[in-house]
Amino acid sequence: MPIFAPNSSADTLRRRAALAAFVTLAAGPPLWGVGYALAYSFGFVGALSSGFTVEHWQGLGKADSDVARSFGFSFAVATVTVAGAAASAVALSQVLRGTLSRGLAATALFVPLVIPGVVAALVGFQFLGSAGLLARLAWRAGLIAEPDQFPALIYDQFGIGIVLTHLAVAVPWLTLLFIRIHANERVDDYVALARTLGAGRLAAVRRVVLPMLLRRAAPTLTLYFAAVLGSYEIPLLLGAQRPEMISILVRRKFALFDLTQRPEAFLIAALYAVLVFVLVLLVFRKTPSAHVS
């Protein structure tokens, strides 16, 4: 609703200026960047380019394509991470809702918020490595005798270490999110209503709690999905050489001896950006934005 209809030309100018500033400084640059990446991938720009070409895009269809494998792997990792994190966080928020809303416990949930990707990767390496903390505990328990007998959790083909590290940092704040949504949306009242109408405990959870929490959290979970999809530091330090996640593939192809692979790097970046934009568009249009404060 236009609350302040512009009641003077100065007001209109102010509003236009604010919008123009936003477009120039916030929305413009990423769109320009994606445009540049697309142009590079089609050969319009680039020092080694020789005019418009679709050869780089055609390369996507090749069997054994680096790009396809990377996208597939990244999507898989992001899906597993988000699903796992959401499931754990919902469960924790339900089971420990009371304790975790106040005092010492609530404080603890804030700690992982200040952990950046590099530090998470460092801790992940220290814990999950073959000579790391878990391996040493296993050695203590007599389960292994040598570091190389410990199962490969990092530098592995499935990105287990990547997923676990992301989970470890995300579950606390997601738990916080679900606790707040639960309180704000008065989910308890609805559950009470459902129970009075005869629903069992499990049914109440399945049909009242979960849909309410997940629908409200969908925008945040989507943004988190996009973040894991494009994560860089954690896969860089904990991932195998192949398959690689998207951001790593982009940087690798960007900084190669073979400078003719640059258009491919930009292609991947552009494809990733378009995918993420479309995803956010779809989710945000269908669900109401949660405003939890």
Binding site: A18, L25, Y232
Partner: protein
């Protein structure tokens, strides 16, 4: 699923244990890194280091480590980004909030920080080189400002509502100028949200790695880059020292005022 029994001692044992595990898990990285930063000779299969030493701390803050410079650099960048983003976000969020197509504009505000910082930096590198911003303090601030601005808008958009608009309108009718309305009516009401926004944009900038690595070209030595550098040379003790310097300040602020971590979305 009652909320009544929320004192930890009155919970069944398994809930208590779970609660303790969760608390422990959250604090574990900080505790572990603190131990790692003073550990000596902590190879497989030892569970605890053989001895402790402050060598890593001395090295980090010494002339070869220059951690003080990195700390100041990180602080300066983050403070500037947070100030600019919060200010610009306040103005833009108001314009969006009262706009007809509010939904689309807010969605557009998501554009900058939906992309991974590394990829955003790589795509913008050409533009930043042309603007002579690569490898400069200003360039890093500009780059981080791009996504913090979007984030600030999203965070602050909930502040504006018809009640507030009516208040503004009333104040204007009573003869107050625009600036007076801002200073005496809006600012006091906005202060808590502005503090949250400032802290969160500060944190985003403080913890950023991808963008400052690409745009800064290694010449803006913020703390996250130092952690990465030490990790890259196998120096886990030094990396742990810098990691702690990264985490402790925002953690301290957060512990003093938990409301600062209000989530936007």
């Amino acid at each position: 699923m009652s909320v009544n029994s929320n004192h930890i001692s009155s919970l069944p044992a398994w809930r208590r244990t779970l609660g303790v595990i969760v608390i422990g898990w959250c604090w574990l990285p900080v505790v572990y890194l603190a131990l790692l930063s003073v550990a000596r000779d902590w190879a497989f299969p030892k569970l605890l280091p053989s001895s402790l030493s402050l060598a890593a701390w001395r090295l980090a803050f010494g002339p070869g480590g220059n951690l003080g410079t990195s700390f100041m650099m990180s602080t300066a960048v983050a403070l500037l980004v947070a100030t600019l983003a919060t200010g610009a976000g306040l103005v833009a969020s108001r314009t969006f909030a009262y706009h007809r197509r509010r939904g689309w504009w807010v969605l557009a505000a998501h554009a900058p920080f939906v992309l991974s910082p590394v990829i955003l930096g790589t795509c913008l590198l050409f533009l930043f080189i042309k603007l002579h911003l690569v490898g400069t303090f200003v360039g890093v601030v500009a780059g981080q400002f791009i996504f913090c601005y979007g984030y600030a808008i999203i965070l602050l958009i909930g502040f504006w509502n018809p009640h507030l608009a009516a208040l503004e309108s009333l104040a204007r009718t009573l003869g107050a100028g625009r600036w007076q309305v801002f200073r005496r009516v809006l600012l006091p009401l906005a202060r808590p949200m502005l503090a949250v926004c400032f802290f969160q944009t500060f944190l985003i900038s403080w913890l950023d790695f991808g963008l400052v690595a690409v745009i800064g070209a290694g010449k803006v030595p913020v703390l996250t880059l130092r952690v990465f550098e030490y990790l890259g040379s196998g120096n886990v003790n030094l990396a742990a020292v810098v990691a702690l310097c990264l985490m402790i300040p925002p953690l301290a602020i957060l512990l003093l005022n938990r409301r600062l971590a209000t989530l936007a979305v």
